[in-house]
């Protein structure tokens, strides 16, 4: 019941996370920065603005923002914040989440092809390249979390990671490292991508978004926030220490998500963006660490 309420609130609360990150980043950089609620103000502003269509673009361009927001909505309804979660009719499978995140990426890339914008296509090509290494890593991270639970049912995985016993397994540590990398890739934060860039040539996730305005852009900005919520909730629930109880579990997971926003702000302040072509190597390398963790589990290594 409570967990279901939190999952529904996430639909509204997700932009809070990006606001928090921006605020803390400003603090670490010694700026006053925008208020935490700035993402909501942006969404309200965009909601009242006119939609501007690109001349010559077709159905893919029109549908992509709405459909990718719909995919992220489904993700938020799947990702639990506790070991028990209501079924909103969309199940609770980890690999379905992976598929829906890929669907959102695919739609945005297709919209770039529809507008034939050079910046959009350059950026979308980069994002899909990162996603190749990203999927490799994500599959192994899901596997490290699935091993103790015996499957990819997210509430069961959440319970499998609860308590302190799991930390005796090296696999869990490797999985945590991998998941932190997944957070950087999926949220598009430095050193992978810079969400604050205004230079078209350096854009990755932002590139195809250049062509959107008004409510379309609002959908896309909400999708980015929802992506933050989903991966941070998964990191906290599947890889960070938390109790098995529902109420205590939800409180601890939400607290961890706040801590993770601070971690992202620190990383974003202290680490420079990587060379583009090196990113897949880094992500793939972390994937190999996760693979070592999986092998250690299969061979029954425990401290």
């Amino acid at each position: 019941m409570l967990s279901g309420a939190v999952m529904l609130i996430a639909i509204l609360a997700a932009p809070l996370l990006t606001g928090l990150i921006q605020r803390q980043k400003a603090f670490f950089q010694g700026r006053p920065g925008a208020p935490i609620l700035q993402p909501y103000r942006d969404l309200r502003r965009l909601w009242h603005k006119q939609v501007v269509d690109v001349s010559g673009a077709g159905i893919a361009y029109v549908v992509a923002p709405a459909a990718s927001a719909a995919a992220l909505l489904a993700v938020l309804l799947i990702v639990p914040v506790a070991g028990t979660a209501p079924d909103f009719g969309v199940g609770h499978d980890a690999l379905v989440v992976v598929g829906l995140l890929a669907l959102a990426r695919c739609l945005i890339a297709l919209s770039a092809w529809d507008t034939t914008s050079g910046f959009g296509l350059m950026a979308a090509g980069r994002e899909l390249t990162f996603a190749v290494a990203g999927e490799f890593l994500l599959a192994l991270v899901v596997l490290t979390a699935a091993l103790p639970a015996g499957g990819t049912d997210l509430p069961a995985m959440w319970l499998g990671a609860a308590g302190s016993g799991i930390w005796a397994h090296p696999a869990h540590w490797c999985g945590l490292l991998g998941m932190l990398m997944v957070v950087l890739v999926e949220t598009g934060r430095q050193p992978i991508d810079n969400p604050d860039t205004h230079l078209e040539l350096t854009m990755i996730h932002e590139g195809p978004l250049l062509e959107y305005a008004g409510r379309d852009l609002a959908y896309l900005q909400w999708s980015v926030a929802a992506r933050h919520w989903a991966v941070l909730a998964l990191t906290a629930g599947l890889f960070l220490p938390h109790p098995a109880g529902v109420v205590a579990g939800i409180v601890v997971v939400l607290a961890w998500m706040l801590v993770l926003t601070a971690v992202l702000a620190v990383v974003e302040t202290t680490v420079a963006k990587m060379r583009l072509l090196r990113v897949p190597h880094l992500v793939g390398g972390v994937g190999l660490v996760a693979l070592v963790g999986v092998v250690s589990w299969i061979f029954g290594v425990a401290a």
Binding site: A60, G91, C106, W113, T115, A124, T129, L154, L277, L291
Partner: protein, 645 residues
């Protein structure tokens, strides 16, 4: 009853072949063939869903026998589901080819051979249909096209599949000789026979299925065939090769040993990755599709490997689910690849272009074919909730459970395969977003694409039927998965029909997901606001020249550059300068083919050298040949004495 229906369908199909031979109109012959294949498919569906067995069982003798069991029934469904729309498409497509009546007759014969392989119950019948299945499409291609390059590709195809096909003969003849066929027994465990049959089967059927490293013929042969035949070759023929492999591994060797499962996982992972890497650097549409067939055959093979290692470890429920995952992917890929090859044929007809970079904007110009192709592109890229996602999800789930439950060697092999397949699916997303975006969206990139008009009704109907099958199979995968699990004697419980509910997963509720995605998308597009202004694309103030638009090579360049250590590419740029002014530029990029340079070329050179030595024996004198006969006879007699004693 089922048997009679199947025989009736085959008879109708044969009539369709004869109609094309005696002077009748090609569309009538194709229609009759479609009816025949459809009836055979219905009989197959009955056998598959009811789990019944009709006709004779397998026998070792030389008496011909035909029969149907659930496995054969499943593959008849695969054949019919692909072939009926392909034949509908052919009604408009084939008459414009050279020698349409011969093509129609050979195509029908090809279908008869495919059905024959699946239904044959004696070794000779199986091998005869197997060879016909290889030769008939080759003949058809040679009739339609006579360029030297095509002839060379066909010779290569026949050479490799025949050499590899020796494995099929060895596996089947050994099985017949050991009495496995006909008797209700399997190969004795832990003997050399298991190793011999397993390896011979893997090489023999694998070379026909296009598994790496026996794959080099596939991307050369499938694209040169006329599109309706490409669809059948890529969609069905390679799957029938997997049918043979499944029959050997899961029926005659059941339970197969762990090492064979690990081998299938390894071959599957290498084929999937190798296939998609070949596809992503391709500029030619049909060649790209052929490479992607290798990828998908690899994915299905990996699932079969997961099933073997799970079965060997005693995890029977997930062994059955992994088996179902492999077969579901076989079915799904048949449909998807057919829709893609057929729309490639339509695009070629409508635009005269066969390179992805010369198409563009076809969704607006050819709405039916374009929309069907878009469905195929999204499905093969594994996008929810089309059929490609359902089976790839199931394959990945099977590998997760194999990593958990299949012991050490099976578990580690499954974990590595899982990661490789995930990367493969990531590359395939890039590959097919490029194809879909470049061919269907945006503006036309050539005069042919600009002037394209929609193809005829029959060609439209063919692709739309297949696209509909993609949607239905994506929504109701449980309908197919439940009988597939029962085939492995595991109760299917509450698997489906809408979505997949399996133990140890969070479930794939397709209806719920479709509802959420569909309703949210429609609502959000509605409230997007009607007041839309139109503005040019943002290009930093540059003029928006069609010649300056991004190419597919540009789109994938980050991928190619990031992984250039693994996939070396060579670039050559030719600049035309006149009086110091650049007037033209040509850029070509070639990707090194390690299998060709490091495996096939040395093998070919070695074979030629051996042939050169052997030529000394061929003196041409009769006495010498008689001498050889006598020598062989003596050696055989001595051998018989020594071995027999």
């Amino acid at each position: 009853m089922t048997g009679a229906v199947a025989v009736f369908g085959v008879a109708i199909l044969a009539v369709g072949v004869l109609l094309a031979v005696v002077r009748r109109s090609v569309p009538v012959a194709l229609g009759v063939q479609a009816a025949g294949v459809g009836i055979v498919g219905v009989a197959g569906a009955v056998a598959f869903f009811s789990g019944s067995q009709v006709g004779s069982g397998f026998r070792a003798g030389i008496h011909p026998g035909i029969g149907l069991d659930p496995l054969s029934g499943f593959f008849l469904v695969v054949i019919a589901l692909t072939a009926v729309p392909v034949l509908a498409y052919s009604v408009d497509y084939v008459p414009a080819l050279p020698a349409p009546r011969v093509v129609t007759a050979l195509g029908g014969g090809f279908l008869l051979a495919l059905i024959g392989v699946v239904c044959a119950r004696d070794v000779l019948g199986f091998l005869m249909c197997w060879e016909l299945m290889t030769i008939l499409p080759a003949a058809c291609v040679l009739i339609v096209r006579s360029e030297p390059a095509v002839r060379r590709a066909i010779v290569e195809y026949l050479g490799i599949t025949h050499l590899g096909g020796v494995g099929v003969w060895i596996a089947l003849l050994v099985l017949a000789e050991r009495g496995v066929l006909g008797a209700a027994q399997v190969v004795p465990q832990g003997t050399g026979i298991v190793v011999l049959v397993g390896l011979a089967g893997l090489i023999g059927f694998g070379s026909k299925a296009g598994l790496v490293p026996m794959h080099v013929w596939l991307p050369r042969t499938h694209p040169v065939a006329p599109s309706h035949l490409s669809a059948l070759m890529s969609g069905v023929m390679v799957k029938i090769a997997l049918y043979g492999l499944i029959r050997v591994v899961f029926v005659w060797m059941d339970p197969a040993p762990t090492w064979l499962g690990v081998a299938l996982l390894a071959v599957g992972a290498v084929s999937a990755l190798g296939g998609i890497v070949g596809a992503v650097v391709q500029g030619e549409l049909k060649r790209l599709l052929a490479y992607s067939t290798i990828e998908n055959v690899g994915i299905a093979t990996a699932a079969l490997g997961a099933s073997v290692v799970l079965g060997a470890a005693g995890a029977h429920t997930w062994a059955a689910i992994a088996f179902a995952a492999g077969l579901l992917h076989i079915l799904n890929h048949s449909v998807i690849k057919a829709v893609l090859f057929l729309s490639a044929g339509s695009f070629e007809r409508a635009t005269g272009e066969h390179r992805v970079d010369r198409l563009g904007g076809l969704l607006a110009r050819m709405p039916w074919t374009g929309a069907a192709c878009a469905v195929g592109v999204l499905a093969i890229a594994g996008m929810p909730l089309l059929n490609g996602f359902a089976s790839e999800w199931l394959v990945l789930e099977a590998l997760v459970h194999a990593a958990t439950d299949a012991g050490r060697s099976g578990g580690v092999a499954s974990a590595v395969t899982l990661a490789v397949l995930a990367a493969t699916i990531g590359i395939s997303l890039l590959c097919f977003v490029t194809l879909g975006g470049r061919a269907l969206l945006g503006r036309p990139r050539s005069e042919g694409a600009r002037d394209a008009v929609e193809v005829g009704v029959a060609m439209r109907a063919g692709v739309v039927m297949l696209a509909g099958a993609c949607v239905l199979l994506g929504t109701f995968p449980g309908v197919v998965v439940a009988p597939l699990m029962r085939m492995r004697s595991v109760p299917s419980g509450s698997v489906g029909p809408a979505g997949l509910w399996l133990p140890g997963t969070g479930g794939l509720p397709t209806i719920g997901l479709l509802a959420v995605l569909g309703v949210a998308t429609v609502v959000l597009v509605r409230v997007r606001g009607p007041r839309s202004a139109v503005a040019p694309v943002w290009n930093c103030g540059q003029i928006d020249e069609p010649a300056l638009t991004w190419t597919s090579a540009g789109f994938r360049s980050s991928l190619v550059l990031s992984f250039r250590a693994a996939v070396p590419t060579e670039h050559t740029t030719v600049r035309d300068t006149r009086d110091g002014v650049l007037t033209g530029m040509e850029h070509t990029q070639t990707t090194a083919n390690h299998f060709e340079t490091r495996f096939y070329r040395p093998a070919r050179r070695g074979a030629l050298r051996v042939a050169h030595l052997a030529r000394g024996v061929q003196s041409g004198s009769l006495q010498a040949y008689v001498g050889y006969f006598v020598a062989v006879l003596i050696v055989l007699l001595v051998l018989a004495r020594v071995v027999g004693a």
